[in-house]
């Protein structure tokens, strides 16, 4: 088939699509469109909440370690919560900035590249800010205890150690699973739309493949 014939076939296909008119254009009634325009994407909501959580954790961590500089356990707990809060706030801010910069009317390649970077940051965000909750709930509990009025000694070291051990095992398993999925998909060298871990573990790998596909396309 020659390109001219292909264009004729394309026009025939276009006419068929026009005739079909199967699209429910009633979706575009004014009230529904207005609702769509007001609608904020879940990503923005989610990252906004994560940013607020980060700020809250910073406040909690600072309150804990500044009041307990003479208690090593509480000092460490406060510093950890403070650092984790900074990580949450920074990752959320980066994601929000990237999402805000996605202008769907920009050239296709620029948007696709930006989407890949956004996907990569989201995957990193999950690894840095979500998975550590396996362990981080413990310093948070410690920090909350640290900012409260001092009470009688409770002798809670055994449950802390047990929780820490279980949490660390869970965290290592989660990160190990993510790494295994990433390596597996990288080794298979699949197309960006050919894989889905189904668990969000392969976000970075997919983003990399997407960027490679864009680069290949640009090189021709």
């Amino acid at each position: 088939m020659e390109p001219d014939e292909l264009k004729l076939a394309w026009q025939a296909l276009g006419r068929q699509l026009e005739r079909q008119q199967a699209i429910e254009w009633e979706l575009l009634r004014e009230h529904r469109l207005a609702r769509v325009q007001r609608h904020l994407r879940p990503l923005v909501w989610g990252q906004g909440l994560q940013f607020l959580l980060g700020v809250g954790l910073i406040a909690l961590g600072v309150a804990c370690w500044t009041r307990n500089t003479d208690v090593p356990g509480l000092l460490l707990g406060g510093v950890l919560v403070h650092a984790f809060g900074v990580a949450n706030a920074v990752m959320a801010a980066i994601t929000l900035c990237l999402a805000a910069g996605v202008d769907s009317a920009a050239p296709v390649l620029r948007i696709q590249r930006r989407m890949a970077v956004l996907r990569c940051v989201q995957a990193l965000n999950a690894g840095v800010c979500a998975a550590p909750w396996w362990v981080m709930w413990i310093p948070v509990v410690v920090a909350i205890a640290g900012v409260q009025a001092p009470g009688p000694e409770t002798g809670n070291a055994p449950w802390l150690l047990a929780s820490l051990a279980i949490g660390t095992a869970g965290l290592v398993a989660t990160w190990g699973w993510s790494l295994w999925r990433w390596r597996r998909h990288r080794d298979l060298d699949m197309a960006p739309d050919a894989t889905d871990a189904g668990d969000g573990c392969d976000g970075i790998g997919r983003a990399q493949r997407l960027l490679e596909e864009i680069a290949r396309f640009e090189r021709g």
Partner: protein
Amino acid sequence: MAHDDHAAFDALLQRHRGIVLKVAGAYARGAEDRADLAQEIAIQLWRAWPDYDPARSVTTWMYRIALNTAISHLRREGRHRRHSVPLEDGLHELPDERGCDHEVLGQVRMLQRFIAALPPLDRALLVLYLEEHSSREIAEVLGLGESNVTTRISRLKQRIREYAAPSTPSTTGARHGTR
């Protein structure tokens, strides 16, 4: 004011609905998916409508949004469906076969198969080429250099010839492109 805005958008969409329909036709699998994608494109156009600069080309604006939406849709749907729905399901399902002679029908089906076998970005290039846009316009929509577009279109035409050649049906670049 909001009503005028909506009316202007509605008129624009009606005038250029071919862009929405053809992009949806090139990226969707089957009638239901096509309708979903067309709606998704219309919604994205409406979301972007307040930022549209009337001094710029409306078709470039529409193609950019439609293609970006369609590529994202294809990647998302591809991940969800790949393991349950064969790639070519729905491709032979023409929207409306009335008024088509046998030869044209065959060509349309071949074109659909060829499009379906292309990676998402190459599909965008093919759609714009088939819509007879100039290299400069295609470059503007895709964000590629003009000379790069010209080169890529020449290669695409060659791939089309190879794909359609009856003696070499399995040695096409398009099929390799779906790896």
